[in-house]
Point group: C2
Chain length 452, copies 2
C-alpha cells in the first residue's frame, strides 16, 4: 500500500492552521462588510473561452484544464494535433486563475440585476499550474474587493482606508505605495517614447528586484533610445515627501496633459485620505507599475514593514475590464489581499492572537458509565453558554485523557467522580496554573466565560 | 461578442444568495464549534489514485479529471486506447467528489500529528459530473462532521444532538431517522440470506421511493428466495414507538447475535440522547439502509417535516474507512449536511431571518464636494461603531441615489446639505416609515445600533 499523498503545490490544512487562516479571512471580511461591500461567489470552473487569452500566453499555459466528461476522444484527430491544440478539443472548462476575470464575466452576465456602483468582495481559492516553491502554491486564496461602475476617486481613497483598517487589525505596520498609470504615461511622453508605455512599465516594475542599471539595460533591449533612457534617470531616484514629489512632477509634466491628470488624481486621493484617519504611511512611488496592463488609473501596492516579504496586497483602477466581455464604459477599481502572504507575515512577526490556538475551552474527563451521565449535564450547561467544550467519549486512563487535553491546548479540565456527584459539584483544573477547585457548574461557567 | 456564461450545473451566487448561504454555513459552524469539533481543509484536487475506485464505477465516471500540464501527449498511444483508458494516461488529478474519502486520506497521511479521537468538521465544495437538474448541481457544498478513533456510542448521540441543535437554530422541524447496519445484518440472518446483505440493503433503501411491491421484485431479481422475501414482509410495516419496535425485534433476533448487538447499540444511543435535551423526533426505521456499503453500525437520515424535500442530512458509522489507505482499526462516525437542500427548505418554509437581507444599514447621500467631506465624518463615526454603511461615491441625482438605497434594501438614508452642516447635524430618513429627523451623529448611531 502506497502512503497516500496530495498533488504537489497543494496543501492540507490542519486545525491549528485553519483557525489561523480563518482569523485572517474573518478579519478581512469584517472590514469589507463595515464598508458596505457585498459578497459574491463564482464557480471554481469557468468555460475556457472565458479564461483563455486573458492572462497572456504564460497564463494560458498555467490554467488547469478539466477534461470533458464521457467519450472525449470521439472525432478528435489526435495524431495531427499538438498537446496545445488538443487541449481545446478535449477540454471545455478550466479552473479559475484569479478572481478578476470571473468578476468581470459576472458583471457582464448579471448587469441587469446589479445596482451600480457595485461594491463586491470575493474570497475564494484560485489555481495556477505554476512551479511550486516556498510561499507559492498551486491552490491559494485571494480576497478581492472592487467597486465597479463609479469613477469617483473616493473609491480609491476608501480602498486605502480599508487596507489601513485591515492591517491595523492585524497589527502589521504597512506602507501603502501608490502611483497612477497616467503618471507613467506622462513619463513615457516626456522622455519621448509615448508608444513604448508597456515596455517602460514592464521594465520599471522590476526596479526593486534588479536595480536601476539592469532596468536601463532592459529598456535599451526594448528599443528605447539612449536619450530617452537618460531622461528617465531622474525618475529612478525621486525622493522627498509626497508633496515634494508632486511639486517636482508639476514642473516635469508642464507640457504633459496626461501626466498632470495623473498628478491631480493623486492629489485628490490624498485629500480624501486625509479625511479618513489613515494610520499607514502612504507613499507616492512613481516607479510602481505592476505588470498588469489593464490598469488605467491608480495603482496600489502594500508592503509590510520590518519583514523581507514582498508585497502583501495590490490593485488599481481599470477602465475597461468588462470590455473583453462586451460591456464598455464600466470603470472599476479594486485591490486584492493575499491570505498566504499575510499568514507568513503574521507568523514571522508573531502577531497571531494567542487565544485563537485554544478553540476548545474545557474537557470533561470520562470516568465511566455513571460519571459520564453526570458530566453530560455539566457539558450541556457550558455549551448552552456558548462555551466550546467536550466530554472525552470513552472511559480511558486519565493520563491518556490528559495528554489529549494538552495536545489540544484545552485550558480547563473538569473532573467528577462519586464524591463530586454526591456534592453536586465538579473539580475544575486550570491547565496553566495546575490549580484545582471544587465548584458548582454555574461557577465554572462564569470562570471560563470570563476568559473568552 | 458571445454573451458570457458559466459551465452547466455550476452557479454564480449574488449577494442576496451569498448572505443566505453564509447564514447557513455560520449557523452550522457555530454548533460544530460549540461541540469542540475542529476545522480542516483538503485540496480541491486529489490524486486520481486517491479517488478512483472509491465511489463505484458510476462514481469514477462522475469524477472531474484535470488534464496534466505541459506536453501530455508525449508517449501516449492515442490510437489504441479508449477514452476511458486514455484518461489515466493524460490526467493524474481529479476534483474532490465528497469530503469523506479526502478525510480518510488526511487521517492516514497525518496520523502521527493527530490526537485521537479526532473530532473534525469540513465545509467545502465538491464536484460531480452528474446530469444537472433541479436541486442537483455539478459544484455544491458539503458540511461534514466526523469523530474518528472512538467506538463510543456517545459520539452517535452527540451527532444527533448536533443535528437537533442545527435544525432548531434554523427553525426547521425534523425527524432524525436512525437504524443500525447490524439490525440489517440481523434481518438478513433471520430470513436466511446472510450472504445477500448488500443486495438487501440496496433494495430496501428504495422502499420510500418505489414501495414494498417493487422492493420485493428487486429482492427476487437479486436472487433472494421467495421464502426469505416472505419472511421479510413484517419488517416493511414495522410500527409503534421506538420501545415497541425494539421489543418486537428482541423476539425476532432471539437467535441472531449480530441483530441483538444492533438493538443494544440503538438502546444505548437512545439512552444517551435522553440525557441531551433533544427536541427533534428520533425514529427507529429498520428499512433505512443508505446505499453506502462502508457503514458498519449506526445509520442516520434527517428529514424535514412539512416539506416534500427528501433527506437533508445523513451519515453513519464506518469501521474501516481508512483501511483503503492502509490504516486499520480506525472506527469513525459522521454526518453530512447538504447546504443546498437546507437552503431550499428554509426558502420554502420562509424561515430565513428577515434582517439578513439588509446587510448595509445606512447610505449617506452625496450632494457634492463640500457635503461629501462632511458626510465622510459621519460615515466614519458609524463604521467605528461597527455599523455597515457607505457614502454614495459621487454626486448624482438624488432619485438615482434613492433607487440605489432601495435596491440594496438599506433601512436608513442620511442626508446633509448646507443647513445640516451649519447646525452640525444630519437628516436621518427611516426608509420603512419614511420619517425624517435632524439629529446629531451620536443620536443616529444609537438609533441604528438599536436595530442591529
Amino acid at each position: 500500500m502506497v502512503k497516500p499523498s496530495i498533488p504537489k503545490g497543494t496543501r492540507d490544512f490542519a486545525p491549528t492552521e485553519m483557525i489561523r487562516r480563518n482569523y485572517i479571512f474573518d478579519t478581512i471580511k469584517a472590514v469589507f462588510k463595515k464598508h458596505a461591500f457585498l459578497p459574491i461567489e463564482t464557480p471554481s470552473m469557468e468555460n475556457l473561452s472565458t479564461l483563455m487569452g486573458k492572462y497572456g500566453e504564460e497564463g494560458d499555459r498555467l490554467l488547469f484544464k478539466v477534461l470533458n466528461s464521457g467519450d472525449f476522444k470521439q472525432g478528435v484527430d489526435f495524431e495531427n494535433l499538438t498537446s496545445n491544440q488538443l487541449t481545446s478539443k478535449i477540454c471545455e472548462k478550466g479552473l479559475r486563475y484569479d478572481l478578476t476575470v470571473p468578476f468581470a464575466r459576472y458583471v457582464v452576465q448579471h448587469q441587469a440585476e446589479i445596482s451600480f456602483p457595485f461594491k463586491r468582495y470575493q474570497m475564494q481559492p484560485v489555481w495556477r499550474a505554476d512551479r511550486p516553491q516556498k510561499g507559492r502554491y498551486r491552490e491559494f486564496y485571494q480576497c478581492d474587493v472592487d467597486v465597479i461602475g463609479s469613477t469617483s476617486l473616493l473609491n480609491e481613497a476608501e480602498l486605502m482606508q480599508i487596507t489601513d483598517e485591515i492591517f491595523t487589525s492585524f497589527g502589521i505596520p504597512v506602507v501603502i505605495k501608490i502611483n497612477n498609470r497616467k503618471i507613467l504615461s506622462g513619463i513615457a511622453e516626456v522622455v519621448g517614447e509615448a508608444d513604448k508605455l508597456t515596455d517602460i512599465c514592464t521594465a520599471i516594475d522590476k526596479l526593486d528586484k534588479i536595480g536601476k542599471e539592469k532596468v536601463c539595460e532592459e529598456l535599451k533591449e526594448r528599443g528605447l533610445s539612449c536619450e530617452a533612457i537618460g531622461k528617465m534617470d531622474p525618475f529612478f531616484c525621486f525622493c522627498g515627501s509626497n508633496e515634494e514629489k508632486l511639486a517636482q512632477l508639476d514642473k516635469v509634466f508642464a507640457n504633459s496633459e496626461i501626466g498632470l491628470k495623473g498628478l491631480s488624481e493623486i492629489r485628490q486621493m490624498l485629500a480624501y485620505a486625509a479625511q479618513m484617519d489613515i494610520k499607514a504611511e502612504i507613499e507616492l512611488d512613481i516607479t510602481l507599475a505592476r505588470g498588469l496592463n489593464y490598469y488605467t488609473g491608480a495603482i496600489f501596492e502594500v508592503k509590510a514593514q520590518n519583514v523581507s516579504i514582498g508585497s502583501i496586497s495590490g490593485g488599481g483602477r481599470y477602465d475597461d475590464l468588462t470590455g473583453i466581455f462586451g460591456l464598455k464604459n464600466m470603470s472599476g477599481v479594486g485591490i486584492s489581499y493575499g491570505a498566504e502572504r499575510i499568514y507568513d507575515v503574521l507568523n514571522e512577526l508573531n502577531l497571531f492572537p494567542t487565544n485563537i490556538d485554544s478553540p476548545i475551552k474545557a474537557l470533561f474527563i470520562n470516568f465511566g458509565e455513571k460519571e459520564e451521565l453526570y458530566a453530560l449535564k455539566g457539558l450541556q450547561a457550558l455549551r448552552q453558554a456558548g462555551i466550546a467544550s467536550e466530554l472525552y467519549p470513552e472511559k480511558a486512563k486519565i493520563g491518556k485523557q490528559m495528554t489529549y487535553a494538552n495536545a489540544k491546548a484545552v485550558p480547563f479540565v473538569i473532573m467528577a467522580g462519586a464524591d463530586e456527584i454526591a456534592e453536586n459539584v465538579y473539580t475544575l483544573k486550570d491547565m496553566n496554573s495546575g490549580e484545582q477547585r471544587k465548584l458548582n457548574i454555574a461557577e465554572i461557567r462564569e470562570i471560563i466565560a470570563a476568559t473568552l
